[in-house]
Symmetry: C2
Subunit: 405 residues, 2 copies
């Protein structure tokens, strides 16, 4: 490995036995983030290179002797490295995929060494637009390069190198995370045994791009955006980011689940014939947008939506998805959800059909769920059973006993 | 009739024979708008009243001796009174529903006297937020009252009075226009023989409200909005209105038609890895938003979306749509479109099912179209045939010969 990777803040990220007892037995318990610096320039799809960068990540479970039990979690648009467990005993909410990662859960930390990172370009510790550009001493802002899913896979491969993981037992992700899984399978085929692609798509539709474009325009037309240099102006494009999140949120829920959750319920008992919040769904959306705009970086949001738009692995193979996935050597699990209209089951089936045509081993499940695109994050017995069954198969192929890491 | 209605600018709005020859034989030809002032206060659902107001409208065809051949066209969110024909020989685009109104078209102006108005609260000549408030001498802006579909029906009934139309042969509308039709049937049952409800819904879903709310927030968070008093500040909330229209536009098209129209085609031949327009769909949306923001009033847009949110005729009848439509005495034609996901066929079927349960005469057609919600505006042979057949039935019930108006 040519990278000069330096682990920083190398606390044990898995829980101590005493701390664990504060949490449910199927929780990974207390966790903490680590970070890794990479000093070898990373060449990017856009033609630019990053001279150096940091990735922040968490791990759960123990790496076995031959490093054959490692699984990589790839996050979605607004995700981060904190996928499971708690940072302290007072933390109310665990990591974003805690329902699926832990002892006895589908990604069973008794068997697997789980690596979850914040993607390059993110805003939770990994190098991104809100980091300091070493060349200028100021935040990158809009000067941070536009990234693609391929760039992420390359940066993640270096993290794997640094952790001594030559081949992932599985690479797993939902939505934009699923795109990364597909890209791993295609461009790094020798480095994973299984690919688990959840609620994803082989490429965005015009409608998907359109929603992203409106979100970007909302951010970029906010007068506090300052062409991405809001940090230098000591402000934030809160209104734009709030709108972007509201638009996104509508596409994450199904019409049915929104109806079930809010219907036409009013926040107070009668119409006020004005433009203040009246319906519960308005109140919910405003809250979601508001809280997101305080915690997420606008330039990162723009970057993530562009990576979504650009993802199109077939484009490298004469627009033929079958040829693209023919590069893969791993087995596949593809999961979709009935009411997901952002990346509908038909989009997952495009992946499955291409894999079948390419003669690959693929399992596919379309899970009955009312929760739209968000279903991939939400507890669901059938989804958990299907996911667990596949991960048992992944585990069964690992012969080495686990060891402390 | 208690209204003191004064026709203003009473030019003949139908074409002269010489002018007509410039246009296709199935065009209504040259048309012009009229306006009518109403000096009797109109009580509104919000509890306020409008002391006086003007409605601008067009007519096509001739009213017959007993005024039994009049049909009313109700417009949708961004529509207006210019539904058919041309204002001058150089005008490139005819009225918004020209494909369906004219000699030999479904709404056949050889048989019907067609009335098409700009709704109260609009921004094309009828009294609305951009009109001068006689009490202050300034534009109403945000002081203009919030209107409901019921208010529109009441204001339209006064226009009918002034035109000497006691009973419409049919009231016809798509989308928000269809809601007005349904409201006419329920609250003015003795004043229409037929109701034609196209691409509509008995009430908005939580998702529909959510999209409207994001559009409103986009407008209201534009710093040029000035709480609706942008006219006094000699500016316009262009960015907000542009975003609102972009969001709306996505919901008017089907995912399929957007895919067929744009796919993932790039505007230039390669990705530029930046935030300028890259995909054709982005360019289209920006153009649509831009041109709309120059021609439409933001306060009117807010008002129209609120009228959509509020529409819920069942709410007056203990949330029972069957009881609500039991008030009607007219016959119904309900039309939906397969790929309309804004007001899906299932929403039209709710109306049909309620009408059937109430024992009303109803014809229903779900038209196969790739064009989403916009399908109601677009030429389509099957839709035209079904619509024409129903209008022939409406015409057959009119026994009086037509006369000049």
């Amino acid at each position: 490995m040519s990278d000069q990777a330096t682990p920083v803040a190398a606390q044990a990220s898995t829980a101590t036995p005493e701390a664990t007892s504060l949490f449910a037995p199927d929780s990974v318990g207390l966790v903490s983030a680590r970070s890794m610096e990479f000093m070898t320039p990373l060449m990017l799809a856009c033609g630019r290179e990053l001279a150096s960068y940091t990735l922040v990540y968490e791990t759960y479970g123990k790496l076995n002797a031959d490093a054959s039990n490692a699984v990589l979690i790839c996050h979605a648009l607004s995700g981060n490295h904190h996928a499971a467990g708690y940072y302290d005993a007072q933390e109310r909410k665990p990591g974003w995929w805690d329902a699926y990662i832990g002892p006895g859960k589908p990604i069973d930390t008794r068997h697997f060494f789980v690596v979850s990172l914040n993607n390059l370009g993110g805003c939770h510790g990994s190098t991104g637009p809100s980091s300091i550009n070493p060349e200028t001493g100021k935040t990158y802002g809009p000067d941070f390069p536009v990234l693609t899913v391929k760039d992420w896979v390359n940066s993640q491969a270096r993290l794997a190198d640094a952790l001594g993981i030559q081949k992932w037992a599985a690479v797993i992700g939902g939505s934009l995370g699923g795109m990364q899984v597909l890209q791993w399978a295609i461009s790094q085929p020798e480095r994973l045994r299984h690919a688990v692609v959840i609620a994803s798509t082989p490429r965005l539709s015009a409608q998907n791009i359109a929603f992203n474009e409106v979100a970007r325009q909302a951010i970029m037309s906010d007068p506090h955006f300052y062409n991405g240099r809001y940090a230098e102006h000591h402000t934030l494009p809160r209104h734009g980011l709030r709108l972007a999140r509201m638009i996104g949120h509508i596409t994450y829920l199904s019409e049915h689940s929104m109806g079930q959750k809010f219907g036409r319920d009013l926040r107070i008992d009668k119409l006020n014939y004005g433009f203040d919040v009246e319906f519960q769904v308005e109140s919910y959306l405003r809250y979601q947008g508001e809280s997101f705009s305080e915690r997420f970086d606008a330039n990162t949001y723009l970057l993530m939506t562009k990576a979504l738009d650009y993802f199109d692995p077939a484009a490298d193979f004469n627009d033929d998805l079958v040829t693209a996935v023919s590069q893969a050597t791993c087995d596949f699990m593809v999961i979709s959800f009935t009411t997901d209209w952002r990346f509908a089951p038909a989009r997952s089936q495009e992946i499955v059909n291409a894999l079948v045509a390419a003669g690959k081993a693929v399992s596919y499940a379309c899970i009955d769920s009312p929760h739209g695109h968000d279903a991939f994050l939400i507890p669901n017995p059938r989804y958990q059973a299907v996911f667990s069954a596949y991960m048992h198969k992944v585990h069964a192929q690992i012969t080495q006993p686990t060891q402390d890491h």
